[in-house]
Symmetry: C2
Subunit: 179 residues, 2 copies
């Protein structure tokens, strides 16, 4: 039972779902490809944590709808009481910033512009999600609300930093030697 397995159980504690949809839904929280999800679900099923029923479709491929079992719910509840791993972030941009004096200002600015656009997309996605949830009945769980807010806090800080960093880079270019 690794973290991704618990992540799948966590999603399934809200609603039964197919492997395909679980793969799409877990992306923002724990990126994983279908080639990792499908074997894990089979493993969780052989361990008795989930079960599936085949749903035959005519217009689309048949699918397996997985649901969490009592054993799965108990495992999930126990996991909540265990110590939580520290977050891990890996960002190539950070490594590039570290040696940015080796490159041209134009390249660095281009990199930051691309990242700015990425964060803006993220923020827009979060805010559209927020609207969707606001109109939803029943209203979303506290957990969902906390996660949306966490994303918004993070992305807004990242956005602010990127804009600040771009100004610094431009200022640094204009005044390379302050005599």
């Amino acid at each position: 039972m690794n973290t991704l397995s618990y992540g799948l159980l966590s999603l399934l504690s809200h609603a039964a779902d197919s492997g395909y949809d679980l793969m799409l839904k877990i992306q923002p929280f724990w990126p994983a490809k279908h080639s990792q999800i499908y074997p894990l679900l089979a493993q969780l099923e052989s361990g008795g944590y989930v079960q599936h029923k085949l749903v035959v479709q005519t217009d689309k491929p048949d699918k397996k709808i997985y649901s969490i079992t009592d054993k799965g719910l108990n495992a999930l509840r126990n996991w909540l009481t265990l110590p939580t791993d520290e977050p891990v972030t890996r960002d190539e941009l950070v490594l590039k910033i570290f040696c940015m004096e080796q490159g041209d200002t134009a390249d660095i600015l281009h990199m930051l512009e691309t990242r700015l656009a990425y964060y803006q997309d993220q923020l827009q996605w979060l805010q559209s999600k927020k609207e969707t949830y606001a109109q939803l009945n029943p209203s979303p769980s506290l957990g969902i609300i906390l996660l949306m807010q966490k994303g918004e806090f993070s992305v807004k800080a990242d956005l602010e930093w990127t804009q600040w960093a771009m100004r610094q880079v431009i200022a640094h270019e204009k005044e390379p030697n302050p005599d």
Copy 2:
């Protein structure tokens, strides 16, 4: 040449260093164990991107001091012009928050308290680093300043969120059914 390899070259573009110290210094930006660093350095050396000289020590074990070559610097400069991968964050806490209704409020609060302490430690580390750099001569490069600021922006947002989330959880507990 993977991202960690470029990360090592990035550190070495500032100063020559041992594998052991590179391992320690890269932790905040790209977590990696010594068992991953040492073989990569050997690989970078066989590719001509770095070279090492043995430094014999009496009180401590001998060490290899690696320095970047011209080929390494060129590779680094070219890397700066290439498209940058999007950042990847994996946080077990996020997956736990998603299914928090399955657990006790006390367990969730304990989890958030632990995370709060972690972010506070991070912030303190960043601010002590900042002081160290402020007294340093020569003053740190623009890259270093940008990274310190990025860390501070992120951690402060995370801290704010954690405190806000704890208040939400407490409020939710007191008023579970708002009739």
